[in-house]
Amino acid sequence: MAMLKTILGNLLRPSRTRAPADMPVVPPTYRGALTHDAGRCTACGTCAFVCAPKAIHFTQDPGISVSWHFFIGQCSFCGLCEQNCPTRAIHLRADVPGSTNSAGGDGLRLESVIHLQPCTRCGAAHVPLPAATMDALWAAGADEAERGYCPDCRRWAASARLRTAFTPDGAVAEGGRHDR
């Protein structure tokens, strides 16, 4: 009887099983189209280092910006870049990247530009820390002025704090500029 029911059911159903728009749902953990948030990226290069097919590379415009480049035609969607990005700037969204007609998949190259900022102390151009990282670093009420420092000046400031702790009167000689 069950078989008859199945046959009858099959006869009454339309010939197609799914309309093109009605496709099986993509699982939420699917690693699809990649997005990059320039505002969170520190241009540390970890993503390019872990990417086996070398889908990510950087170019520089010295003193002005660093560009993060991604070519989807070289990506194996392993998700290692997302896993290893310390600032969570990369995210592989759960949607299926669309096909393209352009040569070599050129329409699927991503570029995001990270603008350099001058250091508020020494003026050297550097990649600013993402706002979230700054909040985490300076939440403890350390010197707000350090927010705009380049990495070298941050190091200088940290060692200056250390030196103050050792000198009895708390005075620290203004060391001027660090060596570059």
């Binding site: 010939s15 197609r16 099983t17 799914r18 309309a19 093109p20 496709m23 099986p24 993509v26 699917y30 699809g32 086996a52 097919p53 070398k54 070519f71 989807i72 035609g73 070289q74 990506c75 194996s76 969607f77 299926v96 990247p97 669309g98 096909s99 393209t100 007609n101 352009s102 040569a103 070599g104 998949g105 699927l108």
Partner: protein, 169 residues
């Protein structure tokens, strides 16, 4: 375009026959074609039918890394596909070599340097619905007479692209 040609063009879109060419794939992309033909993704609702021989095909799906040996095979099989024809490249391998790029026997270059590619489907492997979308796009191009081989033919600019991809240095 007269009425008969128009009807032929529409039928081309409504019933594209495909053939599959594994140019050195890891089999991931080919495995994604199987569910595409199954009722779950149901490619036949678009009139897509898989054929074993390139001589019956309108659209060639090429998957996988291009290798020194598969290069000639791709050219031979592409020549056997009757005009008009479209090529759909599946996955990352044909566009760059993916993780295999730089291996001694792998041509680390785009499939475009071997045969004219009309649609690139990104993914590694692409999801079946992405492949279905790619085939539908290629079928539309066939109807419009806008595939690269059709355009080259109408321009009479040499049907075979000059192959620029040699042995990687």
């Amino acid at each position: 375009m007269n009425l008969i040609e128009r009807v032929i063009a529409i039928s081309r879109r409504r019933s594209p026959w495909i053939c599959r060419l594994n140019a050195g794939s890891c089999n991931g992309c080919d495995i994604e074609i199987t569910p595409l033909l199954s009722p779950r993704y149901d490619a036949e609702q678009l009139g897509i039918e898989l054929h074993g021989t390139p001589k019956h095909a309108d659209i060639v799906l090429i998957s996988g890394t291009l290798t020194l040996r598969s290069r000639q095979a791709i050219l031979d099989i592409y020549d056997q596909v009757p005009n008009p024809k479209a090529v759909v490249a599946l996955g990352s391998c044909p566009s760059s070599g993916n993780v295999f790029a730089g291996s001694p026997l792998v041509l680390s270059c785009s499939l475009d340097t071997v045969v004219p590619v009309d649609v690139w489907v990104p993914g590694c492997p692409p999801r079946p619905q992405a492949i279905l979308d790619g085939i539908a796009r290629a079928a539309k191009l066939l109807e419009d007479g806008a595939t690269k081989s059709q355009l080259a033919k109408s321009r009479l600019a040499g049907s075979q692209p000059e192959s620029r991809c040699g042995r990687p240095s």
